[in-house]
């Protein structure tokens, strides 16, 4: 008998899991490795039918889930990033934007909209991770700010769906100040008694957590999303220890009192409608 026994799963992938999965036809879950036909996976709202892992979904996907018959009007769709600092690392910021736009078909990392959810008018902002990691620069801050204003002026419940690595470094202090901007706008919204639901999805970290994502009247989350202020790698390096399992997950945040409830994507629309109906009744 050996002295040590492996407690966790063996990292060697079994042959049966190594089957090539041609793009577009099949979806292979990153968590349970189950293979599902792509169309079933999409029909299941990008949630693995086997293990329930919520995979990243773009703004169009969420708008489709939420709005009645998928119909909505986009707010301020024309805002695009400028390059106030002429920022350049290995790649120029302007090139990054062009590349990201081409790849994702998006103009920036958030889309904001208004439309009916179960017959009630809502304002919904949804971040897109596909655009520079969903990072918040001036455009994201401004669009979210305007969406908050729109909800306030039209007295519509507001939902912001977060999915972001944090502030956009390429706009440096401009990005930082978007945290102050969005939080200030939310303070005005709160005064009007308009409900704000913050939905945190995988991942919600950094400057997003330290501003609008944590300021909901209701902070809700998708299962097993990574939510935190500092990134896990930074914390691990700082404390010099491995992080406990489930650290910074939605469940961890609910346990520590920062998330009201965790909601499966399938139940999102019904649950937020019920919640808001309770407030307005």
């Amino acid at each position: 008998m050996s002295w040590f026994r492996r407690v966790k799963d063996n990292i060697v992938t079994k042959t049966q899991d190594k089957k090539p999965t041609p793009d577009g036809l099949w979806f292979k879950c990153g968590k349970c490795k189950a293979i599902t036909p792509q169309k079933d996976f999409v029909a299941n709202l990008h949630v693995c039918p086997e293990c329930g892992k919520h995979n990243r979904l773009d703004s169009e996907g969420y708008f489709d889930i939420l709005f009645d018959r998928g119909k909505y009007v986009e707010l301020n769709p024309n805002l695009v990033s400028a390059d106030p600092l002429k920022f350049k690392d290995n790649v120029a910021y302007t090139d990054r934007i062009i590349k990201s736009t081409k790849k994702s078909g998006l103009k920036d990392a958030v889309r904001t909209s208004t439309g009916k959810i179960n017959k009630r008018e809502w304002t919904v902002a949804c971040m897109d991770f596909g655009f520079i990691g969903g990072s918040m620069g001036s455009v994201v801050g401004e669009k979210i700010g305007r969406a908050i204003d729109y909800a306030r002026e039209n007295k519509q419940p507001l939902m912001i769906i977060s999915k972001s690595g944090g502030a956009r470094m390429m706009e440096a202090a401009f990005s930082l100040m978007q945290m102050a901007k969005t939080s200030a706008k939310l303070a005005l919204l709160a005064k009007e008694g308009v409900p704000y639901i913050s939905l945190m999805t995988d991942p919600t970290t950094g400057g997003i957590t330290a501003s609008f994502a944590m300021l909901g009247d209701f902070n809700i989350a998708e299962p097993e999303a990574l939510i935190g202020f500092a990134g896990p790698r930074v914390i691990k390096e700082t404390i010099g220890k491995d992080l406990p399992e489930g650290f910074q997950s939605s469940e961890f945040l609910q346990e520590h009192g920062f998330v009201d409830f965790i909601v499966h994507r399938k139940e999102l629309k019904a649950k937020v409608s019920t919640l808001v109906n309770l407030i307005y009744s």
């Binding site: 024309n78 805002l79 290995n90 801050g141 470094m169 990005s175 945290m179 202020f229």
Partner: protein
């Protein structure tokens, strides 16, 4: 690449590598004075010319510091910290402790005090001077209870209609297990929201490092002023280098790219003013620095106290709402 290595000068002040020419001149001056005092040789002319030379060299060097050099000066181990400012510009300081929930975070200090005749709530990040203190102050990196303690103090100020002064000097909010468990993000976010609508004037001064959310967490003010040799950005140059260049070696390049100096920040309309520092930085002449900071606070408060709270809040929110640069072509292009 300039090295971080510090040279300790006998008289106590530490010089960075880029300050070496100044240090050499000052050493020469010291020797000249010594010789002169012994009375063997008349060095008066020599001393005068050296003094002039030093002033000229200092003006040239400190007037043209690059981003990374400013970052280094902002972190100088002998720079005045929050408690030094409070002790030297305030009277009747009564320190308040704790967030009434978890504990007293030593990385943020504050309390009621008087500047001139004006009562204020003054608070800020506090760093330590030696290993023991640094540990106690967690290097000026606050935990959630620190931000909640700050908010509690600001709310007290609002209740008793006393203006708030915050002094910012942090390498960032504390990253750690407990910080996450107790909601670091939520604590900072709450401060941003509450400070935006606080009914009393808020003056924020960056006295050292202004790193990201950790700084902004007590930085939403009617007037945000940076001292001359400080920095303020979304990330430290080191972390920026490590993330974007995947190496720690690009911190100088990153410091330039981030446009984190007081001049850059003022140009970009992200702060409201700059406090000139004594030649070479606040640590070279702390008393002069205290005077400059005190007069700036007095000046700003005098103006802000004339405004009613509604105007104050509206102007504050407007100011932050207007920050950001983007383009909005008129062409409607619905997706």
């Amino acid at each position: 690449m300039a090295k971080d290595k510090e040279i300790v000068k006998e008289k106590g002040i530490t010089y960075f590598d880029f300050e070496k020419p100044i240090q050499e001149l000052e050493d020469q001056l010291e020797k000249a004075v010594e010789t002169h005092d012994k009375g063997k040789v008349d060095m008066q002319d020599n001393i005068e010319s050296l003094t002039k030379k030093i002033t000229k060299a200092k003006k040239e060097l400190y007037g043209n510091l690059n981003g990374w050099q400013k970052v280094q000066i902002s972190r100088h181990a002998e720079r005045p910290y929050t408690l030094d400012y409070i002790e030297n510009i305030c009277k009747d300081f009564i320190e308040l402790h704790g967030d009434r929930n978890v504990k007293d975070d030593k990385a943020i200090v504050g309390g009621f005090a008087r500047i001139g005749t004006q009562p204020v709530m003054i608070l800020g990040h506090q760093k330590g001077r030696n290993t023991k203190q640094r540990q106690m102050r967690n290097f000026g990196m606050a935990n959630p209870e620190g931000y909640r303690k700050a908010l509690r103090m600001m709310k007290l100020a609002e209740k008793f209609n006393v203006p708030v002064v915050t002094l910012i000097d942090t390498p960032g909010a504390s990253p750690g297990l407990e910080a996450e468990e107790r909601g670091q993000g939520e604590a900072i976010a709450k401060n941003l929201m509450e400070m935006a609508v606080l009914k009393v004037p808020i003056v924020c001064i960056i006295i050292g490092e202004g790193a990201s959310g950790g700084a902004l967490g007590i930085g939403v003010g009617d007037k945000v002023i940076m001292m001359e040799h400080t920095w303020y950005s979304v990330i430290s140059p080191e972390s920026c280098s490590s993330i974007l260049w995947r190496s720690w070696d690009y911190k100088e390049v990153a410091a330039e790219a981030l446009k984190l100096t007081a001049e850059n920040m003022l140009e970009n309309g992200l702060i409201d003013g700059i406090i000139k520092e004594p030649l070479g930085g606040a640590h070279q002449d702390p008393q002069a620095a205290f005077k400059l900071v005190k007069s700036e606070i007095t000046k700003q408060l005098k103006h802000l106290l004339e405004l009613d709270s509604e105007t104050l809040i509206a102007q504050r929110i407007d100011k932050f709402s207007n920050m950001g640069v983007y383009e909005e072509p008129a062409v409607a292009s619905q997706p």
